[in-house]
Amino acid sequence: MRRACCFALSAALAASLLGCGPKRPSAVRHDPPPPPPVEDASGQEGGLTRPDDVDWGPDIEPVDRGGTLDQEFLGGPEGSPLADIYFEYDRATLTPEAQKTLEHHARWLLRHPEARAVVEGHCDERGTVEYNLALGDQRARAAMEYLLSLGVAGDRMTVVSYGKERPVDPASDVAAWAKNRRAHFAISP
């Protein structure tokens, strides 16, 4: 049941990516990163351009440098192999750093086709509950749509907004707020 819902959601999101979807995260307007290899050729996302075999661009670190990806990305909170990405206050646009991190994540996800990701959108405490839930949704969808654009199949990803309900750092200071304005990637095999 839920899986069917996720398929429907991903199809809708894929469609919105292709067309003139609403509220495009600004990330997709940046220079596109070199697309990673396609994980499957079934064409789940329709006519997205996903060349099968490209060289990594200079701004992408080699995947296998110095160990496995899993080791490289250990340290993501709550046991996730994928590090959190961070946002500006009251913003859901992807920073260049966030894009770079997501490019790593995309490669990891493409190398682990069995893994599924729940993309969680979080906010810091300096906001109200309802708007923060909307903002968390925007953040998580910005991250997911960027991963989609990098070739990760939509049916492997689900978006959940937690608003300000689950801060990773409960303190009330600038450092904690910066850590809490995040998208978190919960991975299940």
């Binding site: 049941m1 839920r2 819902c5 429907a8 959601l9 809708a12 999101l13 919105s16 979807g21 609403p22 509220k23 009251d90 729940v118 405490e125 300096r126 906001g127 109200t128 509950v129 309802e130 708007y131 839930l133 909307a134 903002l135 968390g136 949704d137 925007q138 969808r141 689900t158 978006v159 959940v160 907004s161 937690y162 309900e165 689950r166 801060p167 409960p170 009330s172």
Partner: protein
Amino acid sequence: MTRSRPGLLLVTGAVGALAAAPRARAQEPVRQIVITGTQQRLALPDCVPEAGDEASRQACETVTGVLRSDLAFQGLFRFVDESLYSALGQVVPDAPDFEDWQSLFANFLVATRARVTGETMEVELFVYAVDSTQRILTRGYSGRSDEARLFAHRLADDVMALTPYEGIAQTRLVFSSDRDDPDGDGSIKELYIADYDGHNVRRMTVNRSLNILPAWSPDGSTLAYVSYRSGTPDVYLAQVRAGQSLNLTGSRGQSFAPAWSPDGRRVAYASSRSGDMEIWIANADGTDHRNVSNNRAADTAPTWSPNGREIAFTSNRGGTPQLWLMDADGLNVRRLTRVGSWSDGAVWSPSRINSEIAYSSRLEAGTFEVAVIDLETRQVRQLTTGRGSCEAPAWSPNGRHLVFACNRNRRWHLALVDRLGHQLQTLDVGPGNSVYPDWEPRASRGGLTLTRSAAGVTGRTDATAGGAESSGTDPWSRRSP
């Protein structure tokens, strides 16, 4: 003998009340407004135990204290100073000496007596107009002896029924709390119900996930709330008594911030079910979901006007989150708030006298405060200040108070304040963080049996209607269709 006091209005029986009421309201219960204005002085002597036993004495003590507290909370009355009662000796509830009370400048006398017999308790209430020495209300109740507070709340609402305002003492609050989250990592919030004064807290949900943003249906039978129990935030409807629940939105995107239409037939909510965050309206049976905001910005936190024709909501379409208004069909969108850098969580007052919306606003200094905007003048008044950060207000059924949550010293607690920002008080509803309260729109608890009832004044109409708040219109408020 009769001193004419401004604000005292005695209506002669039901005839006078009916004549004053427009025909269209004939189906509403006839109310006999006796106590008007805001400066009537009430005498509330100690409840008299009918027998000398300890149980009756303790029950009376509770009834006295809670009744005084309930009536004081409304801010409508002045009271005879408690220290003066002892000088008068014990009152005879059904035959008071009016000269005593006249000498204390009481306008109304509220006398009670109680008797506990085993597990049963009986309480009687007598209300008198001291000036005219008339008894204007007699009530008797029977119920369980361990529910003395409930008796007192009922008596308070009976007294409030003599004023232009609906009593709220029997209503309850629902709120979200992490007190039963063993890890304290924010992964579990359950819903709890408490009396409006914070007593009698009971847990409601037991699903060990995040349960937030409860909203009571207008008839009090059902709670709409947001639960993460299936992974994503969905809007559920739960019957308060039966405990059965329905997933209203299905797991399609994120859905939250439910708000009932005043007739209870529809629920507005915020959802990303179509892609971006919009205001949706569905029938309360889960059919006919429609997107009414249809805008690329993030739209959230809907609230209905008391007549059901308009919806206020939060949108960042102007750059920052602000309150906007639209017709309930999504047309005629216009911006409402223009001060502050962040406005959210609008709740429309149920009052038919005061056309206003309470909300959370960041006005200055970075903290959030509860504010109210007058819909006619567009003036904003800030109700809270210097209490940390306060948000998520909800109106009392008669529109005279608000409940909300404040974060002070790193703990969220509930607080009450009247609609002008006076008499702010913290509620103790137990450990942990308590957030996102909503106020039961009408008392739905049973438990007491009415054993004796007599209303009506055998006097004549005296003086004119008192305070400005009680003039002609239908002032007790809640959302009838």
